[in-house]
Amino acid sequence: MAELIGGLGTSHVPSIGVALDRGLRDTPDWKPFFDGYIPAQKWMADHKPDIAVVIFNDHGNAFFLDRVPTLAVGVADRYKPIDEGWGPRAVPDFEGASAFSWHFVDQLVENHFDPLVCREIDVDHGLQVPMELFFGRPDAWPVKIVPIFVNTIQYPIPTPQRMWDLGRVLRRSIESWLTDDRIVILGTGGLSHQLQGTRAGFLNREADRAWLDEIGPNPEKYRSMSREDYVETFGSEGAELIMWLVMRGAMDARVKTLHKHYFAPASMTGAGMIVLENEDAA
């Protein structure tokens, strides 16, 4: 059967991609941020996954407000990076793990989730930036992807518990996938930020650091928080952090936190990263 080799979490702030595009990686503003990802990039290079399942939210670039799926899964062979209005980025297309995607969709419906199934769809910075942070800017991506789109923009957004349950089904899908594929899960979004209203610019460094410390050993408190709690603690856009619960829910109860990194502000966001492995990993 396929193997879940690790769970990673990261922010997906668009300015990160812009900084890379403009060659700002080693400027004083950005170097400490990017350097913090080096251990995760090394982990990825050493562990050589075949498939990356990426949980992220589209930002109106693939889905507009005319139709908003709460949950969507890509089953394509290929995904193009979206031009979000500033011109095309020098990011290669993403190859899709379509066979595993279909298996996952089958398992989702079997377990009473009802995703929108997407055969042709482009992916925005929500997926591009995490891939660049963990894999750099290769000529071709070394993994195939399964994109999972979660609505975190238009309310109602899904509950933290639902994200956790989605992770449980993802885990069962990996364990019932009869290949030798090595799979990583990337939960993306957050950490604290708020882009709108008079509280715009709200950051909560203490809560962000606690999240990185606790999401491995003590995820229960985050699973049982309400959406209002997320908005209050992490800011309106920081509520995206619920998507990390898909990753965490897919992992074992006992995990090792191998790497973590925090930097604020990246643009207007508390930016964080984590690498988890199951404690009893083979």
């Binding site: 300015s15 004083p28 503003d29 930002h59 109106g60 670039n61 507009f64 407000l65 031009d83 979000e84 209005g85 500033w86 923009i153 238009q154 309310y155 109602p156 957004i157 708020q194 882009l195 709108q196 209203g197 008079t198 509280r199 715009a200 610019g201 709200f202 950051l203 460094r205 959406r227 209002e228 908005v231 209050e232 800011g235 309106s236 604020a264 502000p265 643009s267 207007m268």
Partner: protein
Amino acid sequence: MSDQIPETPLFVRSHGDIGYPLNKMAMSLCQAENREAFKADEEAFLDRYGLSADQKRAVMDRDWEAMVRLGGNLFFILKISAIDPVPITAIGAAQAGMSHDDFVYGRLGKVRHG
């Protein structure tokens, strides 16, 4: 889920309803031909999407606080800054009602380099 957290507008139905023309117009700017049309005759372009008079004024004044108050969602209205470049921190400062420096170095706590 209700929209009752202080100073924190969530994109609930009421915002979505009034903001729909504004957000739809903004997202159309992802296409180059629409960016050209916007630049050529901004008001005529806004009329195509049926923006209210207040929404039109907010866009033409680049009044980011008003755009959000009138149903704009930042992820959408941000596309206007692809035509008329402005850092997202300036949009944030406008909503917070702060100067850009106070917002960036005070509220966000950015470290000064040189």
